[in-house]
Amino acid sequence: MKILVTAKRVPDPEQKVKVQGDAIDLSGMNFVVNPFDEYAVEAALRLKESSGAVDEIVVLTIGSKDVTQQLRSCLAMGADRGILVEGDDDSLDSEQTARIIKAVYERESPDLLLMGKQAVDGDNNQVAQLVAGKLDLPQACFAGQLELEGDASAITVGREIDGGMEFKKVPLPSVVTVDLRIVMPTAVKTAGSKDNQEYAEGPRYASLKGIMQAKKKKIDEISVGDLGVELEQWVKTTSVETPPSRSAGIKVESVDELVDKLQNEAKVL
């Protein structure tokens, strides 16, 4: 079985974003792997380790050559091979991204396309659904739990809903996106999991051994042209603005005054 995981590079969410003119200023920004994609890599690794049914985990990213660094960090975590589709990752919209992923899917024909539920830069939460639609594959989004069948013919996806968990079994191949809870200690199970098997919470850190091995792992570089994908822009950014800065708070003397201010000044009542 082969798992294809997508990984996007995003500006480190712990940094302050600067707006320059009509766009976000990315110069001097530190980049990291989109956290949800890192969780997808972790989930894929857990599936591989406990099932013995996964032969290869391939990580796909789209971006400039610089993005190799983030790809390499996924390989250092333990993924087997990388694919870099060269393109401008900052200007791609969800549709374009989905087209590229579809083309790579068709080249690789994996049994499972595992993705983060969204990228924390644009927060679009669209790509996986678009890809599933284009490929006419079953989709199961926001997985908080995964359980792989013994014969790898299907995967059960647990999704958090109001008041509990909902479980859906989807046949493979299919498209699955993961949510934050997928990196909880017992979130990923396979027929090979031991009863008391627990992982440390969170995506694993690359060990030095993993980092050294990652140096030797293959990264295929493909251009959008090679994939034969047409990329007209569907979504155009017209402007970017920071939210207005908050003015200082005030102390009110009475409830009446508060109600009055909420009604007449803030106009929220």
């Binding site: 660094q69 390499r72 960090s73 250092a76 969170g202 850190y205 690359a206 060990s207 030095l208 051994k209 993993g210 980092i211 050294m212 990652a214 140096k215």
Partner: protein
């Protein structure tokens, strides 16, 4: 000097930083109070490759150069406890380098590999109640009887000593021969006659355990002799170099963190109507301290660079006097720099700085060790003067 860190170094740095911030920092207050951090921390550090970063792969290491260890030491300080850092660095850079350099196949398998994996805790046994700086004055003896050495003596101030699996032990195999009568034995702590006499209470580095060890007629198999008999003093002098280098790098990074955190405090703390960092007096003091810190890093990096070249690029076993001198200078300089940083930053915090709840009081206690451990500042000067042929 050009930027020494590659993409692999940076990835490793990220791993160590996550480890320090997520697995050490939330626990260190408890460990400081317990006066011990758990054995599992060694295991986890081993798993991540932190202990063996610059050791060859066939010794259970990561196969990297010394800059990997620099990255490791710089990030570990984010764990917020110099005691934990010291315990780990004794395991990785103080009790073990000579085993990698000189160890037999069996010694590598039995001692080094499990140590770098964090499964067997290592201690370095040099100092004694009656001999510290003057290493040749040690009194612990090892008498050859058949296939064994019979070891008698005491060691003190031994880091990791209360729970180590073995000690890299300096002893006299020929008590009359001075420097030339010293050897290194690898001594398992479960041998009869080996006892932890005392767990020592100390000024700082509370999370690290420090012990006095007694050895009474301990029968150590002769195959645990490291390298050749009578060469121990010279081996130890080589071994000291990474110990001092890593201490310098670690303390420089720690001081930088202390400065940054102190300045952040000073932006919020108001006195006479404005944040204390807005006082020119303090601004100038911080400028001086940051400058000293930069200079310390430059000197340490320069020493690492020289060390890295001789050990990894030229493959030399014996370091040149030039490198030994520079490493000693780095340790000396960093000791003074870290002292000033800690003291002035404590002052900057006022009464808060004197409270246990404030990080700076721990820093202030802990950093004092730097001018003593691994060779005192006076001994550094003594060594430097010697290599200069005054």
């Amino acid at each position: 000097m050009s930027q020494p860190f590659t993409e692999e170094h940076e990835l490793f740095r990220k791993t160590v930083r996550s480890f320090a911030e997520k697995e050490l920092l939330p626990n260190v207050d408890q460990w400081e109070e317990d006066e011990l951090f758990p054995d599992e921390v060694f295991k986890r550090a081993g798993e991540l490759g932190i202990l063996g970063a610059h050791y060859p792969e066939e010794h259970g290491g990561g196969g990297g150069d010394y800059w990997f260890s620099v990255a490791k030491a710089e990030e570990l300080v984010r764990g917020g406890s110099a005691g934990v850092t010291m315990g780990l660095l004794v395991q990785s850079d103080m009790a073990t380098p000579c085993i990698s350099d000189l160890g037999s196949k069996e010694q590598i398998e039995e001692f080094l590999k499990p140590a770098l994996a964090g499964e067997r805790i290592a201690a370095l046994g040099v100092s004694e109640p009656d001999a510290g700086s003057d290493v040749a004055g040690i009194r612990t003896t090892a008498r050859r009887v058949g296939d064994d050495y019979i070891v008698n003596g005491a060691k003190t101030y031994i880091t990791n000593g209360t729970r180590c699996g073995f000690v890299t032990l300096l002893c006299k195999t020929d008590p009359d021969a001075g420097y030339g009568g010293i050897s290194i034995l690898l001594v398992p702590s479960d041998l009869p006659g080996f006892t932890v006499a005392k767990k020592l209470k100390k000024l700082g580095n509370h999370a690290s355990d420090t012990a006095e060890l007694h050895l009474e007629d301990v029968k150590v198999p002769a195959r645990y002799l490291l390298g050749q008999e009578g060469q121990g003093f010279y081996y130890l002098m080589q071994n000291f170099q990474t110990e001092r280098l890593i201490a310098a790098v670690s303390a420089t990074a720690g001081a930088k963190l202390t400065l940054d955190r102190s300045v952040a405090y000073g932006r919020d703390r108001m006195a006479f109507g404005k944040p204390i960092i807005k006082r020119e007096v303090w601004q100038h003091r911080f400028v001086d301290l940051y400058t000293l810190n930069e200079a310390a890093r430059a000197l340490s990096y320069d020493a690492v660079s020289d060390y890295n070249r001789e050990r990894y690029e030229l493959g030399r076993e014996q370091l040149s006097f030039d490198v030994v001198r520079k490493i000693s200078m780095a340790k000396l300089f960093v000791g003074d720099m870290a002292d000033r940083v800690a003291d002035e930053c404590l002052q900057f915090h006022g009464g808060m700085g004197y409270m246990d709840e404030c990080f700076i009081s721990r820093v202030w206690r802990d950093q004092r060790l730097l001018r003593i451990g691994g060779g005192t500042s006076e001994v550094m000067k003594y060594l430097i003067a010697k290599t200069m042929g005054f």
